[in-house]
Symmetry: D2
Subunit: 442 residues, 4 copies
């Protein structure tokens, strides 16, 4: 092909991992997947630049670089995005107590915006009009990546091979992909791929697909990678304290290790290590993907699980009741959806995130915890904010207000309730007799 | 006093417990508290009928009956409200995943409506124009009880001694109350009261006040009553399965005990026993009372903790994504507030609860769990509802829809995002460079 | 073509209207559009059954029938869906005060579910595996129709010619379509099509596209069809009363016409006639389509505008404050979105609608109104529900509660506010000096 | 009385108005009310400083000053708070489209925070430990004032005579108050008070109480003060344009008067004058007071009605769909409640308001309107924001995206709907047959 169709920036994967977003995950690991895509793009007449992001996953970046260049990439970029991942994505999500469908801490979702931004910056600099990735056509990550691309660089053109019929029909089975790899002299790892796919970063690891697709299959014990089995965790609880300023962790103290951490990334990594040792942070769920498909996923989010528990606890002591209620109902829920659905670079994210600082102004203080065999146990908390007042809440002494005030409060609160009750009685619908709780509906 | 001022139905407490709502909780246990109130009401010229509800708390009802009559109650009523507590209050709350401020399962709040309704039924039957209780003037329970009274019987008159200055000034210290008890020949328990107050029922126990008022004080190990310390729990995990129909537990199987439970109350009690043994269900929080005061509470909700985890999990498999999201944001949050604030007998409860059945129509299936040293571990789940489709979610095969459809989906989803990004670029506010996440606010 | 590809049920349009959903609306009126599609489907080898719904639009159904059969339809079905349109769609929306983006009363959205259901019933009966329509690929209605089809009959196959490249490229201009019509001997109306497209039913008419695409173009005076210009409306106001039972209109009285209407459909049509005469119900907006595109639309919803004003007013008198607030925030907003986006036959609609009856149990009473040159003026309202109490709200006499109770209420309400203010003062952030309202944010 | 009990700052009212918050509104106009309170406070041994705020109401401030000093006030302060009323309260409420219970624009609520802040500043400066007002014990304004006082100066002590039994029993009728006025030589206005009470400022006037307490009584024609009757309004529509920047009006042009206004307060007053002439801005409702009592109120909000209509319209053109939806559901509704309930100086207001700027960044453009006999008619709108794209929304040409993309979008959107429909069919609950819309509930 004498003339290039253009330059493509390819989200490349390294040598060992398997990707949750690889279509055919048990057939091709992520390396084979994006290496084959690399070769295929060149075959289609594109010039390809390979891109990798270091978001804290365990990966041999140098091997990946060599492989990408060997397969034919014009250039290879490795961007260390760990710090912005922690400070720009993880910490706002922590401040907002983000959680998806009550359980999932959004570890994969949180990494996508920084990776996508890293890619768009390189695409800009390297003059790439196209971007490509190895995500399957059924998952969340294709959506998250592409919406992020468009939110940053609306004229970027996306090549998603696993959604292009001529690609996915050609490589419909493991043999076809292996044959192609052999033809293109792409080195293939010899060990059998695990029967599930994973996505890893410093926040978490996810497990999906393969044998996990039966939601009643218990994950094998050797699947879990980032935490020990609670049964193998130490018999002795681990004490630690976390100090927050404006809702963010600023100091972690581990007394029996005589250690103190104050850097944002360091804090996160230290908590990961502690949680790993004590079996903290495993979940196993069926979740609803953005595209409307139900999907089973297992996750380990070790440090994040501790941080969330501590942050939620400290808000009890330091956050006003009404702010907390409004924040929970709107910011927590909406930002979690925004993250899960890949809507980070959108006006609604800009809008919702703008309300976080006012909600965290008073979230200052210290939480004492223990880790023990999978449990995060709150031992106590303190703050100088002054919204908690022992004397006022005390059952044992007067303070703050007169008991007679409460009589007035209850009388006023009951005005409309009495009116409703009187109307019920007039209609013969008084509520005194037990009945079906749903029975008073009509 | 020759002529009675009227008949009072008094919420009476038994012989051993201490009440979270006793003003002066370390001075007077609940028995002394309401026994003294009983005597005082008689002294004021009222005829008093004593009422106790059996909502599953550990209590010597017969001793209480004798004491109440000895002090001067005209009659004594003990109502067994356990079944309606479980079926009318606990189960709707379970279906809606109710939880207050992310953590508290609302055990005390849930019992109040059935107790209040039991009282109003007796008040009706016995011709009591007045009702009285021993709640402090600073807590939630006075509000919950009284709003429930008014929502059922809007003309009832409430006598709340701990909010009447002549009462609370007269009994401002332990000595005054003990002297009064001696004067009135009220037997007083000899053992020292515990340095906190409690409220117990079959759902949970709460600990509050006293030494717990310092939120940084770790509760003493011997405080916890309904669960063993996770450290003392068995080394071997306990397997069990819970089957749900329309969001309610209908069968609990404990394989290694060869036991099956199918009755609503039995299920709850069996789960309590299992959770107790395995240290499941302890929390320690600072919460926001309805009256706007922050308060520290510790709670054990053993069986409820298991049920909630199982129910939330099964909804992942069987509940539509959009129904779940709407239910979480509206029903879960609003019903939890309604319960906490004692608004059960109100039009808003009637309204919110009416939406529960439609949300639970499909929540049918089985969850397999393990209990282990404080952990509730989901092992798997199954259902014949058919909303989960392995083939559709599979990364390994085509199914359900074409990968090309997702391209269209992403294109349509990106229309407004691209417009926003283009406007940002025109204004020189493109998002490609990292920046303070809150920085794009203005 | 010897063998049929299958049977298609085609949503056919009659002789005179222009459709908002016709692609190329100024080129082809709706009749030409679906008549050409009819011919084209036959050409492709399908057997076609034509379907029309009478939802109250002004149309010559007999002419349409003849034309459809002349072009080659095997059968023609005309379904009168007016009553179910009113009772199953319009009235729940009225009870919930549905409105999209503060202004649009959802007239087109409301008709789609009944039309789609009518089609699926015929498709079932006539053994049609396919369904087809003439909607453009950019609008809301394609989405609404198709999601409704799938929600009723998930295995139906949709043929949307204006989204099939071979169709929309072939008929890319008026000449091509006219030539095709001539070739197929499809009679074409001689009068010039209006420079906008419309959709009409008994609830409303919409105007869109064409010259209206410039959002700064004022619609021409002769565009409006269902209402007179307020300037041409009578100088004398029109009095009427509407009686509601459980939130639904059950009696409309027009005193100076000496008329009373009690039938659901009759009520709606009578209000349409009155509103038309008095210029009530015009709007002109830019709205956000489900697919994320902004779009300008003008609408006339005459009777619905009166009904909504009266219903909202009566709720002031008869609906509990908290139920109203929760209903507004959740049911009104969510059901409006559900309707607009065509999600009627979904689990979330089932869920949200299930909460309506409990919200309307008390909405019983009478509203007196006047119509005058575009205005709907509330003159008074009455009800025997008893939630309003003159004595209680009176500024001129005591009643219902003691003024001293309010002191207690305010004291309790201020507890957490004082704590916050004290903390502000300690931090030097007291609010007494005027400042930028957004300035206290950080 | 030899020694003062302390200094009281009294919210004093002038000579002519009647106050909605005066208890006994038909007996005593506001002047008599607070003049009598002034005399009474002095009688109780307080030193009194009188305070008036100019928030745009029609009032003879000089006469009021003379009267206050004559009755015995030590000092008299008149604060002009019009500008901060407009810029700090009205404009954020406009940006957020605030409205209470669908109809009320919150004119009284909006003035309270600036008045309360003005008072607390004087109380600080003048060393007043006490503050007093003439509000009734049943209304909203007592709550709004006092919560604002406490949110600014938590140690202020409030004297609310109409909630003090010895005061309200002593002055239980007009004669008692007139006799007291005579005794204290307080001049009393001779004209009969109107049979309702009012509250006026530059935003609006409210009418309440008296004959309006019957919700079925039509207000008399001569009650309305700030707008002409639409029937008396000019036959010729009035054209005007409003330009917004970041959601705030920055330029109003009245072509046929050849006038342009650019100052915030000027804009508001000019719109008031135009709306008054054309009969724009009257409402008549039954609303729910914060204390849970239903109350009938009539309001004229002339300029505000125009501004809201224009702002809502421009948001259609310039605000992202998802931001609009989230803002409507959370900020609009919550801030309206906050304002109505007097929670301006609270952490939740700080939180909610902090989200406004991000929602208004793109709300820039021009709206053309006409006023005609009570109607605000949108004629067109324009903006250079670029979120609206004629080509993209056009039904007449391709643009922005491929029609085939919509096919993919609909397929993906229908995945979970089809699953639900299939489950319904399996259960014999397919939705094809018409049925009671609420019937699928259980």
């Amino acid at each position: 092909m004498s003339e290039s169709k253009g330059r493509v920036l390819l989200a490349y994967s390294g040598g060992l991992g398997t990707s949750r977003d690889a279509h055919l995950c048990m057939i091709a690991d992520r390396a084979e997947n994006t290496s084959c895509i690399l070769a295929w793009l060149i075959e289609q007449g594109y010039e390809v630049v390979a891109f990798m992001a270091d978001v804290g996953q365990e990966e041999d970046f140098e091997a990946a670089r060599k492989k990408a260049l060997a397969v034919g990439a014009k250039k290879f970029f490795l961007e260390d995005l760990k710090r912005e991942f922690v400070t720009e994505l993880i910490y706002p999500a922590l401040q907002a107590n983000c959680i998806y469908e009550n359980v999932y801490l959004l570890g994969t979702s949180l990494a996508r915006p920084v990776i996508a931004r890293g890619m768009m910056a390189i695409a800009d600099r390297e003059g790439c009009d196209f971007v490509s990735h190895g995500c399957t056509g059924k998952g969340n990550d294709q959506v998250r990546f592409e919406l992020a691309f468009y939110g940053l660089k609306p004229d970027i053109k996306v090549i998603a091979p696993w959604r292009i019929p001529e690609f996915y029909h050609r490589f419909a089975g493991r043999q076809a992909l292996l044959a192609y790899a052999a033809e293109k002299q792409i080195p293939v790892q010899q060990t059998a791929a695990k029967p599930w796919s994973t996505d890893e970063n410093l926040f978490h690891i996810s497990y999906e697909a393969g044998i996990l697709e039966d939601p009643d299959t218990t994950p094998p014990a050797d699947m879990w990678k980032l935490t020990v089995d609670p049964r193998q965790a130490p018999e002795t609880p681990q004490a630690l304290t976390i100090e927050f300023a404006k809702g963010l962790p600023v100091k972690v103290t581990v007394p029996d290790e005589n250690k103190v951490y104050t850097d944002g990334v360091e804090i996160f990594l230290a908590l990961n290590a502690l949680a790993r040792k004590h079996g903290v942070g495993r979940i196993d769920i069926v979740e609803n993907r953005f595209i409307g498909v139900k999907s089973r996923g297992c996750y380990e989010s070790p440090g994040a699980t501790i941080l969330r528990a501590a942050h939620v606890d400290l808000e009890g002591l330091t956050l006003d009741r009404n702010v907390r209620a409004l924040r929970d109902q709107f910011v927590t829920i909406e930002l979690s959806k925004i993250l899960y659905n890949g809507h980070w670079f959108t006006p609604e994210r800009e809008f919702i995130v703008s309300a976080i600082p006012a909600s965290q102004r008073t979230v200052n203080g210290l939480v004492r915890l223990e880790l023990y065999k999978g449990n995060v146990i709150i031992k106590g908390r303190s703050s100088s904010e002054g919204l908690y007042d022992e004397k006022e809440s005390s059952m044992d002494e007067l303070g703050g207000f007169e008991p007679t005030d409460t009589t007035g409060f209850i009388q006023i609160e009951s005005i409309r309730i009495k009116k409703w009750a009187q109307a019920n009685i007039r209609k013969g619908q008084a509520g005194i007799e037990p009945k079906d709780v749903y029975g008073s509906r009509v």
